[in-house]
Structure formats: structure tokens, C-alpha cells
């Protein structure tokens, strides 16, 4: 299956081509080149998926295939970075997801970005991102993953800051990069620890369940936790950063300053699930070596999920709502992984999490692209500038509704199936946690429909001209993704992707399913009541819960805290004193030597008095001094 190389390589070539000669091409040509190349890549990954899932099963278990692997850099005798391609169920699934969403976004962008300055550059960056993301998922070892992890971060930085004349976009891209970079520091240190003791970066060896690899770490602990837990927790920190887990999520809402298709690609479907993918990739290690870290993963996931859902309820920028919704949904996936076991039915959470990742990618991309179509039509992100759009944007409206229903967890839309499995696994793990997640699911339904109603129903705001439906290049992806959202739930996902690579038959847990559907319906009902028409209830509610509302609007002051830490503590509290210290103390000392010599030089000028008698006197005293020293000491 060596041809999988081209899945990864083609976008890179497209990046190089567009990056180097893009300026000479017309925007249209550049867009087509990017899209066509990606289409080839997508086809290849579909072929790969078909090929893999039909042939790679040995004894009921999907094998890990490594069609390509070569040494890229040697560190020590044991440690070396390889670059290669590892195919296993999750990797193949990710290939499909990424290429699909990316292709949709490429296609969509032809219409959405039409006439933008730097169109060619935009496509170059998209290709770069796709390349990095694909490289990340097929990584054969943790360091290759880290390499592409960083590349993904950089291309995300470039894409968020695509409109570089726009200060908010620049600030957002910077924030995104630095926050994730900070998380990556944890990832890096985690890799350092893990690789030092296990002597390998290789995923296959790490996840083979071979306990002897970890023998070196046994008994070592630091601050009360075992070293392996530290390593895995730090690696998870990297994942949490990319996946916008609380409290490292602050960059994602701001990242909405980027072009909307970019948000769909990066901040909904692909990059943000990299953290989930990372945990899933190392799942056997987590499960076998540090179950305590898995609990941490679950808790972080739950907290994030709830927090983001609450904040999403009060946002007024539609992309922000979607951003928080993304954070919340990724929280679900993390919880799924955190509560999962390894073997057989225990592995429900893992399977569900991956399933949710898959379905979420489709419907969240759909939501973002839909939001893009809306913004394209009304030239604003704010809900108050919308309302009553259903008449003007029929296709967008229908597809958006499909996505909303999916994310709210209404059967038979795909979100229902995946989310329900996560809830089931969570209840199985810990009912309290399950309750929290159910509540979150309810909130999800509420804020999504709040969004839906305020965009498409409610009172129309004043407009100069009637909004128009988006062109075909934009509606085709919408339709395609809506269709995918409709059918994805019926894919027998457990056949393909499970924690132990063996087949898993999905059984719906009807109690959980019924409860969650009920909760979702109630939430939708409330949203309908509040927002279908203009209603005083939300405002009244907001004023009665003023504190909570204000806090939620300010995202519980987390951003302010970050701002305080960076501006006040790091910038003013550390950097400025350090710079001052350098100029005045360290450099001052160096200058001090010079000044001192000058001073001494001036202070002894009197000795050279010009009097010959004094000179003789000095000679004589010199002789006496030497004599005293030589004879008596």
C-alpha cells in the first residue's frame, strides 16, 4: 500500500507549487489546482480505506501496517526519528475524515474566498495544513507526530492570520500559536521522559502492551506521581492544547477571526481533534501504565465540555457559538476515551469517542460552512444582524438544521448514535459523570437551537439589500456534508474502529438513549420558546442571573486571567526587569570596569608633577621599598 505516500505527499507538492509560483497563476487556476490535487488525495484515501478494511483483517483483528518507514534523524543508538506511514483503523479513518472535509473546504473556498487578496496563498496554506494533518495521523512514531503537530500549529497560525491586515486576526493567530506552543512544551517534555525510559518513539512498540519497555520507569516517582504518569499527563497536556481543553482552550474562540472555511477545516473537524487522536493513539499505554491519567482525561473532558456549553449559551457571534460548541464536543470525545476500557465491551468509550470524532467532523464542518454561507450573505458574524434568513437561504437553512439536529443528538442523525454511545460508556463508568454529560448534551441542544432560531427565524434585522444564496461551489459541499451527516450514524463503526482492533457490535443502550433524546427535546423546546420569536424571557432570565450571565459572557474571566499572566507577569513582571537588569547591572558592571580604569587614571595624574626632584624622590623611595621588601620579607 505504498501509494498511501501520495495521499500525504500530494498536498505538500501542491503547497510548494502554489507557494513558489502561485503569484504567477490566476486565482482561479490556483484554486483549481489545489482542489484537484486534493481530490486525488481524497480518492486515494478512500481506496486506502476500502483496501485496508477489506484486506488487513487477520484473525478478526485489524493489523497495523507500515508501508513506509525510513530514518530521518539519529539521536542515540536507540532513539531515532523515523518518517513513515502507519495504517491502522483510526489512522485510516482520520485519512478519510481529513481528506473529505479538506476537499469540501477547498471546493467551498473557491466560492467563499472569491476575489480575496492572496487567494493563491490561501490555497497554498490549505494544502500545507492538509499535508501536515495527514502526516500527523499516519505518524509511525511519537516524534513524527510531534513534527507534524508543530507543522499543523504553524499552518493553523498562517491560516488564522490569513487576513494579516486585520489586527484582530493577527492577535488571534498569535494567541493560538503561543497557547498551543505552551501545551506542546508539555508534549515535548512528555516525549522526552517517555522515550528516555522506554528507549523508543515507535508507536507499535509502545502500544504493543509489552510491559518490559516500561520497566525502567518502575518505582520512579516525582511529586507523588509515578514518572510514567507524569510523562503521559504531559503528553496529554499537548493534546489538550491542540484540542482546546480547559484551561488551554482560550485560543480557539479567538481563532474564529480566520476565514470561515478555515475554521471549518481546522477548528472543527481536523486539527482540534488531534489531541483526541493522540490520546487514542497512545490509548494502550494510558490504559495499561497510567489509568490515573485516563481519569484525568475524563475529568478534563467533562469540565471542558460543561464549561464550553455554558459559555456557548450566551455568545452572540455565531462563529463563537460554534467554537464553544466544538470545544464542548471535543470534551465529549475526551470523556469517551477517559472512561473507556481496553478489551471487548469495555472498549465502548474508545469506539464511541472515535465514532463521535467521525460524525462530529462531518456535522461541525457543515455547521461552519453553513455559518460561512450566512456570513457571506449578511456580511456579519453577529446574531443581531441576522434573523428570518430561512426565506433567503433555503439550502443553507435545511443543511444547517440537519447539522443542528445531529449535534443535538436527535435520531436518526449521526450525532445521536455517537453521542449516545459516549453517554452510555460514561454512565457505565460513573453515573455522576454521566449525569453531567447528559446535562451538557441538553445544553448543547439548547444553544444550537438558540443559534438556529436566531439566525433563521426570529425578527429580521434591517438590511439594505436582500441576502442571496451562496453559489454552487459553496452549496455543493453543504449538501454533501448534510447527506453524510444523515447517513454516517448508520455506519457499523464498531466493525472498523475499536480499542483492541477486534470487532465490536454496537448495542444501543435504550434507557440512556431515551433519556438523552428526551433531554435534547426538552432543551430544543425551551430554545423554541425563547428564540423562535422575539421574546422577553431570555433577557429577563439574563438579568435575574446577572452574575452568571456576565461571567459566562466573559468566558468566566479566563481570558482576563491569561491576559494578566502574560501582560502583567511575564511582560512587565519578568521581561522588563530582566531587560533592565541586563542593561544596567550586567552591562553596567562591564561599563563599570571601563569607568573605573578611567577614574583611576584621572586620580593618579598628580603623580606626574613635572618636578624633576619629585621624580628622583620616587626613584629613591622605590629603591628603599624594594630593599625593604627584598631584605626583610
Amino acid at each position: 500500500m505504498e501509494y498511501t505516500l501520495f495521499i500525504v505527499l500530494l498536498p505538500f507538492l501542491s503547497f510548494l507549487f502554489l507557494g513558489l509560483v502561485g503569484k504567477r497563476l490566476t486565482p482561479r487556476a490556483a484554486g483549481y489546482i489545489g482542489t484537484v490535487v486534493l481530490a486525488i488525495s481524497t480518492c486515494l484515501s478512500y481506496i486506502t480505506a476500502w483496501h485496508y478494511f477489506t484486506t488487513a483483517k487477520v484473525d478478526g483483528v485489524f493489523e497495523k501496517l507500515t508501508p513506509l518507514n525510513f530514518t530521518w534523524l539519529n539521536f542515540t543508538e536507540k532513539l531515532h526519528i523515523d518518517l513513515g506511514i502507519l495504517l491502522d483503523p483510526i489512522a485510516v479513518m482520520m485519512l478519510v475524515v481529513i481528506t473529505t472535509v479538506s476537499l469540501m473546504v477547498h471546493l467551498y473556498s473557491v466560492g467563499y474566498m472569491h476575489g480575496e487578496r492572496g487567494f493563491q496563498r490561501y490555497y497554498a496554506f490549505l494544502s500545507l495544513f492538509t499535508f501536515s494533518m495527514l502526516g500527523l495521523v499516519v505518524a509511525t512514531n511519537i516524534f513524527q507526530m510531534y513534527i507534524f503537530w508543530e507543522l499543523v500549529g504553524a499552518s493553523s497560525y498562517l491560516l488564522i492570520g490569513f487576513d494579516y491586515a486585520h489586527p484582530e486576526a493577527v492577535a488571534a493567530s498569535k494567541k493560538a500559536f503561543i497557547v498551543t506552543r505552551f501545551a506542546d512544551l508539555g508534549f515535548l517534555v512528555g516525549i522526552l521522559i517517555l522515550s528516555f525510559y522506554t528507549g523508543t518513539f515507535d508507536f507499535e512498540r509502545l502500544t504493543s502492551g509489552d510491559a518490559s519497555l516500561f520497566a525502567g520507569m518502575e518505582g520512579l516517582s516525582f511529586m507523588g506521581c509515578s514518572v510514567v504518569s507524569w510523562a503521559l499527563a504531559l503528553i496529554f497536556m499537548g493534546g489538550a492544547g491542540k484540542s482546546a481543553m480547559f484551561p488551554l482552550h482560550v485560543w480557539l474562540p479567538d481563532a474564529m477571526e480566520g476565514p470561515t472555511p478555515v475554521s471549518a477545516l481546522i477548528h472543527a473537524a481536523t486539527m482540534v481533534v488531534a489531541g483526541v487522536y493522540l490520546v487514542a493513539r497512545l490509548f494502550p499505554v494510558y490504559y495499561l501504565q497510567a489509568p490515573d491519567v485516563l481519569v484525568l482525561v475524563a475529568i478534563v473532558g467533562a469540565v471542558t465540555s460543561l464549561y464550553a456549553a455554558i459559555v456557548a449559551c450566551v455568545q452572540t457571534d455565531i462563529k463563537r457559538v460554534l467554537a464553544f460548541s466544538t470545544i464542548s464536543q471535543i470534551g465529549f470525545m475526551m470523556v469517551g476515551l477517559g472512561v473507556s476500557g481496553m478489551e471487548g465491551r469495555e472498549g465502548l468509550g474508545y469506539m464511541a469517542s472515535m465514532f463521535h470524532l467521525f460524525t462530529h467532523a462531518m456535522f461541525k464542518a457543515l455547521l461552519f460552512l453553513g455559518a460561512g454561507a450566512i456570513i457571506h450573505a449578511v456580511h456579519s458574524n453577529e446574531m443581531e444582524h441576522m434573523g428570518g434568513l430561512r426565506k433567503y437561504l433555503p439550502i443553507t437553512h435545511i443543511t444547517f438544521l440537519v447539522a443542528c439536529l445531529a449535534i443535538a443528538g436527535i435520531p436518526p442523525f449521526s450525532g445521536f448514535f455517537s453521542k449516545d454511545e459516549i453517554l452510555a460508556a460514561t454512565f457505565h463508568f460513573n453515573p455522576a459523570l454521566g449525569a453531567v454529560m447528559s446535562l451538557t448534551a441538553g445544553l448543547t441542544a439548547f444553544y444550537m437551537f438558540r443559534l438556529y432560531y436566531r439566525i433563521f427565524w426570529n425578527k429580521a434585522s434591517h438590511r439594505d439589500h436582500a441576502p442571496r444564496e451562496a453559489p454552487g461551489s459553496m452549496t455543493v459541499p453543504l449538501t454533501f456534508l448534510a447527506a453524510a451527516t444523515l447517513v454516517a450514524g448508520f455506519i457499523p463503526f464498531g466493525k472498523f474502529v475499536t480499542s483492541d482492533s477486534a470487532e465490536y457490535i454496537i448495542h444501543l443502550d435504550w434507557t440512556v438513549a431515551a433519556a438523552s433524546v428526551a433531554v435534547a427535546l426538552i432543551a430544543i423546546g425551551i430554545a423554541t420558546l425563547f428564540y423562535r420569536r422575539e421574546s422577553p424571557i431570555p433577557d429577563r432570565l439574563a438579568s435575574s442571573l446577572r452574575g452568571l450571565h456576565a461571567a459566562a459572557s466573559r468566558r468566566f474571566y479566563l481570558d482576563d486571567l491569561y491576559l494578566f499572566v502574560t501582560k502583567k507577569i511575564i511582560f512587565n513582571g519578568i521581561s522588563k526587569p530582566v531587560a533592565w537588569f541586563d542593561r544596567h547591572v550586567v552591562d553596567g558592571a562591564m561599563n563599570g570596569f571601563a569607568t573605573l580604569s578611567q577614574r583611576v587614571s584621572y586620580s593618579i595624574r598628580g603623580f606626574q608633577s613635572g618636578q624633576v626632584q619629585q621624580y628622583v624622590m620616587v626613584i629613591l623611595l622605590g629603591v628603599l621599598l624594594i630593599a625593604v621588601l627584598a631584605l626583610f620579607i
Binding site: W72, F143, V170, I570
Partner: protein, 493 residues
Amino acid sequence: MNFLSLFVLVPVLMMVGLFLSKNLTQIRAVAVTGASLLLALAVGLVFAYLGERAAGNTSEMLFAADHVWYAPLNIHYSVGVDGISVAMLLLSAIIVFTGVFASWKMEFLEKEFFLWFCLLSTGVFGFFISLDLFTMFMYYEIALIPMYLLIGVWGSGRKEYSAMKLTLMLMAGSALLLLGILGIYYLSGATSMNLLEIARTGVPAASQNWLFPLVFVGFGVLGALFPFHTWSPDGHASAPTAVSMLHAGVLMKLGGYGCFRVAIYLMPQAANELAWIFIILTGVSVVYGAYSAIVQTDLKYINAYSSVSHCGLVLFAILMLNQTAMNGAILQMLSHGLMTALFFALIGMIYGRTHTRDIRQMQGLMKIMPFLGVCYVIAGLASLGLPGLSGFVAEMTIFIGAFIHQDAFHRVFTIIACTSIVITAVYILRVVGKILYGPAADHQHIDAGDARWYERTSTIVLILAIAGIGLAPLWISDMISDSLLPIVQNINL
């Protein structure tokens, strides 16, 4: 004649040529020819070296030649290269080449500028091919002194002050070094000043304890070792473009190379015993430089402090005393040399157009000079360690190598050094955001054009080198790594 000596001879011939040339065209012709020749030589050397190694030549130094020079003191003119010197020669040749193009448009005294420039190159190349302590030291000083005039005459800002400070601090360092070298030679009882010979005889352990700090600090001053780095911000800020490039790109590497070739190689016991002191200093350097860079407003100061941080990492890695970390150190020298040269080249070009280096007065340059803007972003990304560019390779090798030590002390400092990757991102992105992005405000800037062909040549060559190392690091990393073996063995004896 040994062909390594050509590395010294070519710059000398260039000087003669420059001396004879009559107008700007001839000066440029001589400079470009010479620099290209050097680059070709360096590339040829890489292939020749790899070929020899592939053919199974395992001697420590290849292409070695030895002539007695001052017999009474056993001073030889002896040259030879291993993988490390080959790498450094390649770096120097690239930077000299690009430096010539970066100084295409001098405003006055072109001939003298290139004369000094060539003298500096002579010193640099000579240093890297030398195996004899004396010639090594001689070339070291030859490389230092032209800086004074290059900065003093062609610089900007507080150039006299900076040039003087730089020269005096570096000379103070080299004073320590001289004592160290003499001490090493006489105390080792070796019969020549040849490095390999002295390494074989060994320096008595008791003497190592005071010689090691002398040599390490001596070279460390040039390697921007905290707290002896303060010449660097002022010096770089005042220096003309090509000089900043050459200085930060190659000259500062002399420090690192020397630390490792003389201090560590010849005095392994002391290195083992005293490394902790310098690990603290360099560890501080790494973070301290990065934090200082955050609040600077002058582009060159930012880059200078960033160099303090990155060069700190070089010395830090050297002190880890294992093969991986040292390999990382050499890679970091290469990588830092290339990208900091790129930075200084770009800063010079931007300054030439905007006439300011204050980041508060620039905005939206990406629109006005897209080529330079893109290159600046690439340099920035390389500097913050983006995979695919050279910085990543070097830093990762260093961190992996540093992590080999198991005790808490090394671990803590390794992690402290790791944090620099975040701080680096902060200051790089700050600058990029401030000067390149945003709307173009200043009308004077808007009229400035993009890069000219010679500027493009210079930046593209550097970017190619950075990406070359970043994308395919294996050959160079292995080349260096093999050559480190004897040194590491010497340490672990």
C-alpha cells in the same frame, strides 16, 4: 599544497585583488568570485569528506597536513578537518557568500569594507581548519579585530561605543584564552601544540581545574555566555548588515566550537567536574536572553538577545558531555548561524527601506515588501523551531541529549531550557505581528520597493540552506555525530 589551505589563501588573494581593483565593479567582481569560490570549495569539501569516510578512512582528521612553523615552541602549521569542521566551514562559506550580496550597496569606502571583510573571513576559515592551538588562537584573533573597524566605520547608532565594547570584551576573553592555551601546552608536556597530540598526552587533572574555566570563559565570551554577553546586543545593533551576519552567523560559532574543541576535548576531567557551574550560567543565558528579547523594540536588539538565548543553548548542550547533545550543539550552531544571518540580512534590507529599526514605527510591511516579509516569517519560524527548518532538528537533538542525564539538576535545567521554545515563539510572533502585519501606515514605507536581485540571492541561499538541513538532516547529523566519537570517548575515559 594541502587544499584546505585554500580556504585561507582564497580570502588572502581576494584581499590582494581588492587592493588592486579600481572601481566598484571590479571590487564586486573580486568579492563575488572569491566568495563563490569559497562556497564551491566548501561544498566540494563536504563531498570529498563524505567520500573519504564512505571509502573507509577512519582517521580522526582528514586531509591533514603538517608543517613545522616555529620549531623552538613546537608550533606547527597544521590543518585537518573532521565532520564538525566541515560543517562549520560550509556554514562560513555560505554566510560569506550571502554576506557579499547583502553588502552589495555600500555607501562609502567599499574597497576597505571588503578588505576587512575578507580579513575576517580569513580568520574564520583559518580557525576552523587549524589543528594547532597557536594557529587556532591566531586565526581567532584575526577574526576579531576587523570587527572593530567594520562596526566603527560602517556601523550606525552608537557605533564607536559598541565597537569598542565589543572589541575589548572579546579581547579580554581571548586574553584568558591565551593564558589557558599556554597553560595547556606547558602543563601537558606535549611535544607540539597540536590538539590531537595534546589530547593524547592529556593535561594533569589538577591543572585542568583552573585551565578549564579560563578557556571556557575565554571562548564563552564570544559564544555570548552569560554574564559576558553584553557586547552582543550593542555590537549587533551597531554593525552593518553583512557584519552582523558574519558575526552572529559565524564568529559567535567560533566561541562554541572553541569551547568544545579546546576546553572539553583537552580537559575532559575538569569538564566533568565543573560543567555544573557553566550549565547554570548557560541555562540562565537561554531563558534570560529569551525574556530580554520579549521587551526589546529594536529589531536588531531582539535578534541579538535571541542569539544570546540560542548560543546559550549551544554551550548548554556542549556541557552535557554526551554525543547526542554535542551533536545537537553543532547542529544548533549551524542552524543558528544560518537563520540569524538571514535575520540580520533581512533586518538590514528592511532598515534600508524604512530607515528605522524600531518595531513601533513599522506596520504592514508584508503588503509593501512581500518577499522580505515572507522571508522574515520563514526566518522567524526557523528560529522558533518549526519542523522542516533547521532549528527544530538542532533543538530536538539537544533536548534528547540533555535528557540523557538522570539527576535532578540536569533535568531541571533541561526543562528550563525547553521552556525557551515557548518564549521564543512569543517574541518572534510579536515582531512579525507588529512589523509585517496590520495595515500599511507610513507613506514613506509604502513607496519602498521589494527586494532587489542581490538581496534575493542572499536570502534565498540562506533559506535553501536552512530548509536543506531542516528537511534532510540525516547526512549532516551523522557526519557530525561520527566525528564526535573520539571526543566523547576522551570524556568518558
